[in-house]
């Protein structure tokens, strides 16, 4: 396969711009884009796709192009699809079913009338404060909007989002390199390889204020500079690594980027390779992300075919190639030294730093490791300039951050917001508040290394410093919202059980200490806690924070420390009053049946007695039922099955 020149690549870009995304240059009257990320597929997007395909075939609609893209962001309303009629703004439909997509086909695609009741919005999302870049209308011209549906960038979920790392979300087919190129893809790579010196690239990144999106927030420009200037052992090579070992419970930012826009990461790494001076890079992806592994491998193959990876990239004389290394699923391999050990084929456990990977990383050579999201930001900074990027965010935290917004919240999904946005805006404006009218209690950020931020701090601006100050951390971007029904002791126990299970076991405090803390927390949730436990918990937490070997160990006590700091009363209720205020810790609950509700409303329906596992419930039909506390095993099934809320939990 002949490798491309820069001119040939620009040709491809021009051609792809004139054609619909995913169309491989084929013109079409209408394009239907089904959003097929892992989340969409799980919600049934594949079935929607299949129905649509069958319908199009049946109707022989050859001028309608069916394509797919990655995650569209709003997970709670998957499956989603975007319909774009030539010359009109695209319309995004949500909560699709097979019946709905058939109706949309009939009315909108064939008939030309937008089905406003199913539509989420029309037009494009905001990308970094400038009109959206789209494939077909050309990057500069905003599409004509449809009056019957709200503008997409006015839909609450999307309104406050600014897309940089996710700039191609829902717009390109991850399997098509041409789609990516059409949306200014590989422009940054060309700039870096032809017009910029390594020092200029590093300066640009440093000026942009980009900080590591993996959690610790180390300034990327400084890191690159360190690696660039590190004397390689024996003058050997340097290495570039993309950390895609996303393991935090409830986090899926990296997965989404790798699946939906793999070329943005590859391009970022090409720029990084030029900056630090290396010819070899690795993309480390956990094997639990099969679609991501597939997407990245495919993208690397395409980039090689186009001569964007390999020897003499685009005829610039620069060599760089990438390979995917799959992780076996250990959370600790997200820690950079453990990740490097894993790539080397050694036991995935951290080692003391210093020396930092920038001095001595893979096989003892200077190595630059950045997170997926960091890499995805790089091309945008190079093409649009550091000044533009630095204009977004706060004084110390520039740009945007992708969060996976999950838990007790109406709009779960992937959100990219400018730094400095408040928690309130994320929870209420973007997230749409708490379902069922429940009260917001706390939000957990930073995964198992982070902490819980309480209601009182809901106006906290999100940046690296303020989160750390609040006892949590930015982390990779997991954001778990909790409502009044969440027991904070149980939450701490859950995260401890995660870190305890995922501790590599190398150093004493993490291996033994997290186990000891988990044992104590489990005891407290089972009503066996004593006031001394809180002292020991704090001692252990301090010890682990002080003496654990790696970042994962040092931050493991954070969920306990923050809950103790903000919700000490809940711990005390568990220990002193043997009561779980949120009624989550079932061992502490007392289940009773309100006889009046049972008889008056339910007429002694007997459902609870039949479902009781321990024969603790007495009573017959048309009689008030009662629970024998001596027999009750507190499984809570009676409360779950009672249709009349007659079972009281105290």
């Amino acid at each position: 396969m002949p490798k491309l020149t820069i001119e040939a690549l620009e040709d491809i870009r021009q051609k792809a711009r004139g054609a619909p995304a995913g169309g491989k240059g084929r013109p079409a009257r209408a394009v239907v884009n089904v959003h097929l990320g892992t989340c969409g597929s799980a919600a049934g997007a594949r079935a929607v796709m299949d129905v649509l395909k069958a319908e199009l075939d049946r109707r022989s609609l050859s001028d309608v192009l069916l394509t797919s893209s990655g995650c569209a962001g709003l997970c709670s309303q998957e499956p989603m699809a975007t319909v774009e009629i030539a010359g009109q703004a695209p319309v995004k439909y949500a909560n699709l079913t097979e019946a709905k997509i058939k109706a949309i086909l009939e009315k909108h695609i064939v008939g030309g009338t937008v089905l406003a009741e199913y539509a989420l919005g029309s037009g494009y999302e905001k990308t970094g404060g400038r009109p959206a870049l789209n494939v077909r209308p050309g990057p500069e011209s905003p599409a004509e909007l449809l009056p019957s549906v709200p503008r997409l960038d006015e839909v609450p979920f999307f309104k406050k989002q600014v897309l940089i790392a996710l700039r191609n979300r829902g717009l390109i087919d991850p399997a098509s390199i041409d789609d990516y190129i059409a949306r200014d893809g590989y422009k940054a790579a060309i700039m870096a390889l032809t017009a910029m010196t390594p020092a200029a690239i590093i300066k640009e990144i440093a000026l942009s204020g980009l900080r590591g999106r993996g959690g610790a927030g180390f300034p990327t420009g400084i890191k690159w500079d360190l690696v660039r200037n590190a004397a390689g052992g024996n003058g050997g090579p340097k290495y570039l690594v993309c950390n895609g070992d996303e393991g935090d419970p409830g986090a899926f930012m990296d997965r989404s980027i790798l699946e939906s826009d793999p070329h943005s990461v590859i391009e970022g790494m090409i720029v990084g390779a030029k900056a630090i001076g290396t010819a070899t890079g690795f993309v480390y992806i956990r094997n639990e992300y099969p679609l991501a592994v597939e997407a990245v491998n495919r993208a690397i193959g395409q980039a090689r075919d186009y001569g964007l990876l390999g020897r003499d990239i685009l005829g610039t004389g620069f060599d760089f190639d990438l390979q995917v290394k799959r992780g076996a699923g250990a959370f600790v391999c997200g820690e950079e030294t453990a990740l490097l050990a894993s790539i080397e084929g050694r036991l995935g456990e951290p080692r003391p730093r210093p020396p930092y990977p920038a001095q001595s990383g893979l096989w003892g050579q200077p190595t630059c490791i950045n997170n997926v999201e960091t890499w995805a930001n790089v091309p945008a900074i190079i093409t649009r300039g550091a000044k533009w990027f630095a204009g977004i965010g706060t004084e110390t935290s520039k740009g945007t951050k992708v969060f996976s917004l999950v838990g007790k919240i109406n709009n779960t999904g992937l959100v990219e917001v400018p730094m400095g946005i408040t928690l309130r805006e994320i929870v209420y404006d973007i997230g749409g508040g708490i379902p069922g009218g429940k009260a917001f209690k706390a939000v957990q950020t930073g995964g198992p290394s982070g902490g819980c931020i309480p209601n009182g701090k809901i106006d906290l601006p999100i940046d690296y410093e303020s989160l750390t100050e609040a006892g949590s951390m930015m982390g990779s971007g997991g954001m778990v919202v909790m409502d009044e029904d969440t027991c904070m002791v149980d939450v701490a126990r859950y995260f401890l059980s995660f870190t305890q299970d995922e501790s590599c076991g190398k150093c004493t405090p993490c291996r033994e200490g997290t186990k000891a803390m988990l044992d104590i927390l489990t005891g407290i949730t089972e009503g066996k806690g004593t006031p001394d436990d809180l002292v020991l918990l704090e001692d252990l937490a301090r010890d682990i924070k002080d003496t654990a070997l790696c970042g994962l160990g040092k931050t493991a006590p954070n969920p306990v420390l923050t809950t103790l700091r903000y919700f000490r009363g809940e711990y005390e209720a568990h220990i002193l009053e043997k009561r779980c205020p949120a009624h989550v810790c079932r061992a502490l609950n007392v289940y009773t049946i309100d006889p009046r509700l049972c008889l008056d409303k339910g007429r002694g329906c007997d459902v609870c007695r039949r479902n009781c596992a321990s024969d603790a419930i007495s009573g017959r039909k048309n009689e008030a039922h009662a629970i024998d506390q001596a027999k009750c095993i507190k499984c809570g099934v009676c409360a779950d099955v009672c249709n009349f809320d007659a079972v009281r939990v105290e």
Binding site: P352, E502, T508, K515
Partner: protein, 585 residues
């Protein structure tokens, strides 16, 4: 050089030294568990934490791996340090309550018990990883590693099966600070007192304590470096840099006037007598193994111990193992009776056990030997006359349970007896060394029927061989004890000296001569000459006798088909003339 303070004391250390090394220099003790000077720091146990104030920050650091830097202020016993150490040690105690070094550190820190649940009170492994790192960094085998995560972490071979990468060096056990790794010798040989073969058989050692010169050598077959290319621990610890891995064995040619052969013997391998159970049952030892055990510098420090570590209550010593036996060696090995008596005496002294000596005849022929035998009789050693037919572990009665049962026909009582003992010692006989035949061929030595080297004359020339200038000393000529060996060696040395003193070689007067006219160079004589004295001169087309080698045996004379070979002074004509003379009288 780097200057810093430790507990207020100023210290100066070399660039690159760790805080731990600096503390050592300052005379400040810091407890460690996962640290070993020969292995890269691992910083896992977190017991060596110290408080470091540096560049405006003050926090806890592990001293084993943190480099000392100019201006650091370090505290090794601040309350924060001690509290941290106490808690980490307390947590480790819950994991490995039986680990002795850990308990000592805990005691020093004032930690008596642990508040955390103990899983196994006998657990010794503290997961310090020294074994894993020794296997990787020192041995270069990487046969073991950590498996599983978190609190389930443990050391194992791949999939918990015997690892092909393991070279059986036992370095892991040597580096284990708590004795959590034990070694089992499964290969062929029975397990006798594990350390017996593991302890002293280091790959670098002096051959024996009395060795001259007292210089260690490297046993290449046992040395890890020659298996994996790694290790070199001996070179690392030798501050004279005297260890040389390139040295090779050399073959040197030396010209000498005479040679004394003292090539010795080997002991009979009792595995050839399966009925004695050697190699199959524990606590059956050969004489050499027992000698090693009772040696004060041996693996048990001279204590007589069974494999379970207990002292035996009863011991059987079996004489004539491989000797005086038509199936193996018909000859008497001459030394076994006396060393067996010595064993009996030592055993009595060291253990007070009941001793049984199973003999055919007591052969106590030397000076003071018979008296020693009588002393043993008085000491209460039980002598049973008869050849042992079998040693087994098959118990027929409760008394025999768990014992070695020796079956023997007591020829004095005329009954077959079964005697249960805790330990059996096989008085193995002597036999020629493995390369005996090779030596014999090289030096042109004949062997007698018992396969030992044949002396020239049993009475008149007991230390000479049939080859001039080659003398015999010691057991290569036949089994004998140390006094006899020393005497024979003295005689051989005197004979060699006599030759040297003479300065010339006396030739046999009756050597053979070849008549070149008659010889057809058929080479029959060449093959027959036992002294390799005849060669064929191709120029002359005839055989030539080397007078210096010829012993005048006359073999060639009798064999020569053309009558070309004759013996000086014994020519046919001379013989015939003598015969005629006899008839004339």
């Amino acid at each position: 050089m780097v200057q810093l303070t430790i507990d207020g004391k100023p210290v100066e250390v070399e660039e690159g030294a760790t805080i731990l090394q600096a503390a050592k220099k300052a005379g400040v003790a810091i407890p460690t568990l996962c640290y070993h000077p020969l292995i890269e720091p691992y910083a896992a146990c977190r017991v060596c934490e110290v408080e470091v104030a540096f560049r405006g920050k003050r926090d806890l650091q592990t001293s084993c791996n943190t480099k000392a830097q100019a201006g650091m202020e370090i505290w090794t016993d601040s309350e924060r340090v001690l509290e941290t150490r106490r808690l980490n040690v307390e947590m480790l105690l819950a994991r490995a309550p039986a680990a002795e070094p850990l308990r000592e550190i805990a005691k020093d820190l004032g930690v008596e018990t642990t508040r955390f649940p103990v899983k196994d009170p006998n657990e010794k492994c503290i997961l310090c990883g020294l074994c894993v790192r020794a296997c990787e960094q020192i041995v270069g085998a990487s046969a073991i590693s950590f498996v599983d995560r978190g609190s389930e972490r443990r050391v194992s071979t791949p999939f918990g099966e015997e690892s092909e990468a393991c070279i059986g060096c036992t370095a892991c056990a040597h580096f284990c600070p708590t004795g959590a790794i034990t070694v089992e010798d499964k290969s062929g040989r029975q397990v006798i007192h594990d350390e017996m073969f593991l302890g002293p058989a280091t790959a670098i050692r002096v051959p024996i304590r009395q060795a001259v010169p007292m210089i260690p050598f490297i046993d290449k077959s046992a040395c890890i470096h020659f298996k994996t290319g790694e290790c070199k621990v001996c070179a690392k610890v030798c501050d004279r840099a005297a260890v040389n891995f390139e040295q090779e064995d050399e073959v040197k040619e030396v010209e000498v006037g005479s040679i004394i052969l003292a090539s010795g013997f080997k002991t009979f391998d009792p595995r050839r007598i399966p009925a004695y159970g050697y190699g199959r049952y524990p606590n059956i030892l050969t004489a050499m193994e027992f000698e090693r055990m009772v040696n004060a510098s041996g693996p048990t420090g001279g204590k007589v111990l069974k494999t379970d570590g207990a002292s035996p209550q009863s011991v059987g010593i079996i004489h004539c193992v491989g000797s005086r036996d038509e199936n193996y060696h018909p000859y008497c090995s001459r030394v076994c009776c006396m060393y067996s008596l010595k064993f009996a005496h030592l055993l009595k002294e060291k253990t007070g056990a009941a001793i049984y000596d199973f003999y055919i005849d007591m052969r106590c022929f030397g000076k003071g030997y018979e008296e020693f035998y009588h002393r043993l009789l008085e000491e209460g050693t039980k002598f049973v006359r008869g050849r042992v037919s079998e040693i087994s572990t098959l118990a027929l009665t409760d008394k025999e349970e768990g014992k070695l049962v020796i079956r023997v026909e007591d020829t004095l009582l005329g009954v077959v007896r079964r005697i249960p003992v805790d330990m059996a010692i096989l008085a193995v006989g002597l036999e020629p060394d493995a390369d005996h035949n090779h030596v014999a061929k090289t030096f042109n030595i004949s062997c007698s029927q018992d396969t030992f080297f044949l002396e020239r004359h049993p009475k008149l020339a007991p230390s000479s061989s049939f080859t001039d200038g080659v003398f015999l000393a010691g057991t290569c000529q036949g089994p004998k004890d140390i006094p006899d060996t020393v005497a024979q060696a003295g005689a051989a040395a005197a004979e060699a000296l006599a030759l040297a003193d003479l300065g010339k070689v006396e030739l046999e007067p009756t050597t053979a001569v070849i008549d070149e006219e008659l010889c057809s160079a058929c080479r029959i004589c060449v093959g027959l000459c036992p002294f390799t004295a005849i060669t064929v001169d191709s120029e002359k087309g005839a055989a030539v006798v080397n007078d210096a080698l010829c012993k005048g045996c006359g073999t060639c004379v009798a064999a020569c088909p053309s009558g070309a070979s004759y013996q000086r002074h014994f020519r046919d004509e001379q013989i015939f003339a003598e015969i005629e003379g006899i008839f004339l009288v």
